[in-house]
Amino acid sequence: MGGNFFDKVGGTIKVTLRGRNGERVMNMASTRGVFIWDIKKKGDDLDMKVRASGFPALSHIAEEHGFELEVQDKRGLPFVRSIIRRRMVFIGGGLLFIAAMYLLSSFVWTVEVSGNKTVAREKIIEAAARHGVYPGAPKWAFSRSGVEKELLKDVEDISYVQLDLKGVKARIKVVEKIAPLKDIDGPSNIVAKKDGLVDSILVLDGQARVKRGDMVAKGDILISGLVIPQPSPYVDPEEQGELEPSMVKARGEVRAKVWYQGYGECSLKNERVRPGRGRQNKFYLLTPGGSLSLNIRHSTSFPYYDESARCRFIVTPWGRFGFKRVVLSERLKEVKIYSEEEAWAKAKAMAWRELNSKLGSDSRLVNTKIKMVSSPSEPLIRVRVIGECSENIAVAQPINTEAP
């Protein structure tokens, strides 16, 4: 009956009872509720097992009746202590490890920002650092909701912040404010967005200042919001009285011819570097005294490669300690010879791409001209594409009525 789980937990003791007529002790023990088992006679003595909890009662009974009780063996959890004492350093090391893990994981090691498009990452990181979230910051020193609130106050252009702590990583998720389009309420002019030759002008409100065929420069007033009334030739000037200029919000469309150009070139002999499959890692230990290479192989296996390094370090009073990983990505060099036709086609395509990227969604290509601009001595084909576009160059600009 011994040897079950509860005996292991509570602990069992093997004893030898010395003296004649041990039956008396056995009977006394069982009537007093002390459970004993594995009773075996050995000469005059009796071997038996008893639970650790029942041992004091048994030894008391034995003493009372003039028997001698000798402990032979102790087993079970309460007696593991002796083993623990022997393995003190090992167990201490384990505990130290757990404590170190706990301690190190209770700091923020990295701060990540996501969701920002126009707000600078540094600005958010800096604001977070002001409120206690920075690499090396203890986690208990700040409250998540508090930092979120402060960040919302500090960084104006964000409407929502979420701070997540995943292990030793602090993730700041932001949602930026969408600024409403600024509508001009007061009087305004319409000015030219870019240089061009006015093609057509449609005035809805205001007074035209240019006519078809005029060259305009960027910023020129096209339709004025300041309307100067013209005296009517059919009415008697005296009847018309004093005509006051008025201010309006100018509206209208001015289409103009605008020229764009795209440039492309292609050399006949083309050297190109493209990414290869090879990767090599190099590891370095960073100490205040310098960096220590942890590599078995120091040589680089590729003739051409790109390097990208990632550092992780902690700042301590003794300097920076950390770890650097350098990834070398293989690059392959390729030489390609183009015929003149091929180079021309490539350069032209490149020029067209550049031209198209300059065109606005509103502009309509009217006329194009393709010119080769390279000199015959060059091993290079240069192409320029000039596109003539018709587009609306009108843009509203408020009139400053608060005159100085």
Binding site: M1, G22, E23, M26, S30, W37, D38, I39, K41
Partner: protein, 91 residues
């Protein structure tokens, strides 16, 4: 005393309750030749490797054999293993 026992016996028969429960009678379960499970005992009179005498409510039980070990001892139950040669009821 005997009268009381008699009454209890009749009652147990009438109510169909096992007699060992009502009358405190010993119940002996022998498995093979070397395992004995005894309920309702009244203590051990003598224990040695070759002989065990156990007190019962009426008389005592004497086991003879070899290498007796009391595997478990509880206030009214015990479990004995060993090579059993004879089991005797004595008064």
């Amino acid at each position: 005393m005997d009268k009381k026992r008699e009454t209890l016996k009749v009652m147990a028969d009438f109510l169909e309750i096992p007699r060992d429960l009502v009358l405190d009678l010993p119940k002996l379960t022998i498995t093979g030749r070397n395992e004995i499970h005894l309920e309702n005992h009244r203590g051990i009179i003598e224990y040695s490797l070759n002989r065990i005498r156990i007190n019962l409510s009426r008389g005592y039980l004497e086991l003879e054999g070899e290498e007796f070990t009391i595997k478990a001892l509880l206030p009214d139950e015990m479990y004995i293993i060993g090579e059993i040669r004879s089991i005797k009821y004595l008064d």
